[in-house]
Assembly symmetry: C2
Homo-oligomer: 232 residues x 2
Amino acid sequence: MSLACAECPVRDSAACAVLSEEERKALASAGRTRKLSRGELLFAAGDTDTACATLVTGALKVVAHNVDGNEQILALIHPSGFIGEMFAPFAQHDVVSLTDSQLCTFARKDMERAIDEYPALARALLRRSQEDLHSARSMLERTARASAESRLAALIHDFAHAASDSPCHPASQFDLPLTRGEIANMLGLTIETVSRKLSDLEKMGAIRRKGKRGIELLDPALLLSLSRKEFG
Amino acid sequence: MSLACAECPVRDSAACAVLSEEERKALASAGRTRKLSRGELLFAAGDTDTACATLVTGALKVVAHNVDGNEQILALIHPSGFIGEMFAPFAQHDVVSLTDSQLCTFARKDMERAIDEYPALARALLRRSQEDLHSARSMLERTARASAESRLAALIHDFAHAASDSPCHPASQFDLPLTRGEIANMLGLTIETVSRKLSDLEKMGAIRRKGKRGIELLDPALLLSLSRKEFG
DNA sequence: CGCATACTTGACGTCATTCAAACCGTGTGG
DNA sequence: CCACACGGTTTGAATGACGTCAAGTATGCG
């Protein structure tokens, strides 16, 4: 299926938004849309000649597996996000769909050609890559020293903002996009600890759980202050 | 002081290596060299209009500070590494010199102009940025779940490789570029734990300590296997 | 209805932090 | 030259957080 940029929901926010109408058309002719359902694998670690892609709808996770078969979520990709190895000879991590998702994929060499041809695109990708770097580093900052409670509080806080329409206020009610197991993998904790700390946050009055996935934000300020606390 | 690319030790490995002789000369005319001594601050978090730079000799650390004044090392920069915010309105983290260092600095707008003018440079920076992303993610992978012992073993293993002339064999003897406190900050541990685990590694026969900073690698294979172990 | 999957909760053990004290190499002043 | 203080480091003992193991509770699906 070829691309239909005209109706693309991320046409103004994805990397390709910096292209002129003609340039976009040229790039689009090299791309293909792809749909993934929950749990489906987009790239596998070790794949050679991986493609790259812009996420249009849904959500992806970037996952590392260590020797024990344990998995660790390294990043989440949201719509308009770009994913793919442009330089390494093979993919380093698995990329898996968290929900039903829709993407525009490009062969690596087509994208390389586009980068050389359109300087603005290279800039846009560089910018995105640096943003990814920042978010990886803030995750690092969080996981390195923070207590289980802070990590979880911070994650819920982030999700509340991501789920909100307005960029500055958190949504007061939303569904967690991840299972307990995925949250645990993301924060470097166990399922049991995540569950326990969720109970604690509820007891403290910061949140209320609504079913398995639903979260109601009762005291965002408390949540924020908890997210800054370290050990002790 | 203006740049002397001819004698630059990283002229073939830094981002500017992709430029032609003329292009390099043009970029060089916009750059300045700068020397830092140990502990000196290159950029501070919150700085607006930060410059960017290529590290020529020495080493830098990228540091985040949390509310309690605790610091966390997010990344190390080695010679030929590139550092600087090209897009964010202000710097997110402090950048501090670990040893006496030498850099080529560029005003942000000069670098932006160069990116637009030389597509190869944009590609080179994109590549570097993705490498930084990978190293941030592998640090994440490490700090999230690994025991103190594994983290330390992995770090020593990395330093042994970084200190080696050949890229595939570790140096059998080298100096740690960081103090115990910096190691602790980097791994999300305390000074005491780092010290204890160094003792343990020595007791096990993986390494031998030579003075405060010196490390002799007795059993690289053991070290590597320890670096893969998790809790339990 | 029965089974599977996800989640919650409790008891217990392990590991890293915390607090405290001692150690070592270096530089300073008597 | 020695005493002394100082920063970086090592080591010990006690506390507490999180993991492990295990049992129990939804929720959904065939």
